[in-house]
């Protein structure tokens, strides 16, 4: 289970970074937003599907290459996930505040 926890936390960090990045990039690039919309009919639906794919895909890769993550690495990965989630949430909120009132 430790292997799954480590893989999930690293994958969740990558997913948070991915979700924040694609959200901000799509607001600056109409062609990217158009591509996202063309895939599923709505840009948010495509982002949702992509976050699931990124999470499961990265988790599978990390799980297969890390047979026995050390105690320190597992703990650090969880703290990094906590930090990434806080920064990710604040980045999204901060970006849309800036975008609306610039």
């Amino acid at each position: 289970m430790i292997r799954k926890i480590y893989a999930s936390s690293i994958s969740a960090i990558v997913t948070v970074i991915f979700a924040v990045t694609i959200t901000i990039l799509a607001e600056f690039s109409e062609p990217l937003k158009g591509v996202l919309k063309s895939i599923s009919g709505h840009h948010w639906t495509t982002k949702s599907i992509l976050t699931v794919i990124v999470y499961l895909g990265v988790m599978a890769v990390i799980y297969s290459i890390n047979k026995t993550p050390s105690k320190g690495r597992v703990k650090r990965s969880l703290y990094c996930l906590i930090l990434a989630s806080i920064l990710g949430s604040l980045s999204i909120l901060g970006f849309f505040l800036w975008h609306a009132f610039k």
Partner: protein, 154 residues
């Protein structure tokens, strides 16, 4: 399948599952603090919390994609608080995407035995992660209230 086109029911289910998810993750925080030897309840609570958030995500997404853009967004944008869409709704719909991978990680953590949690020193990060999930979900709930208020009372 009439339920899929019934807007008040969709909103009610979205809100209901979100509240259930928050409650279950707060319960999970209590389980982590208690740190019992038998972990069945912890796994059940974490699994039900994850499932609740997934259902809130899917049902809320269904409403958002099919009805919000055409029915609610124009009212908010024409009202006195257009920022309720451009800041609050935009933030809400995207921050929600972060919750599922976080909750899935908490679900996997719930399977650890008491001895493993202590051996790996994971009690504190597990607790902080679970409380953060509940806090972010509560903030998203507050955003939902602002959006709803802007649409109703402009």
């Amino acid at each position: 399948m009439d339920i899929l086109v019934n807007k008040p029911i969709l909103i009610g289910l979205h809100l209901g599952f979100a509240i259930l998810g928050i409650d279950l993750f707060l319960w999970l925080a209590g389980e982590i603090i208690a740190n019992p030897v038998k972990r069945f309840r912890m796994v059940w609570v974490a699994g039900a919390g994850l499932l609740s958030f997934v259902l809130a995500w899917i049902i809320g997404g269904l409403y958002y994609v099919n009805y919000y853009g055409s029915l609610v967004k124009p009212i908010i944008k024409a009202g006195s608080a257009p920022w309720a869409h451009s800041v609050v709704m935009e933030s809400k719909e995207h921050i929600f995407l972060l919750i599922i991978p976080m909750a899935a990680t908490a679900f996997f953590l719930s399977f650890l035995k008491k001895k493993e949690i202590e051996e790996y020193g994971l009690k504190l990060p597990f607790l902080v992660l679970v409380l953060l999930i509940a806090l972010i979900a509560l903030s998203i709930g507050a955003m939902g209230y602002i959006i709803s208020a802007a649409a109703r009372w402009g």
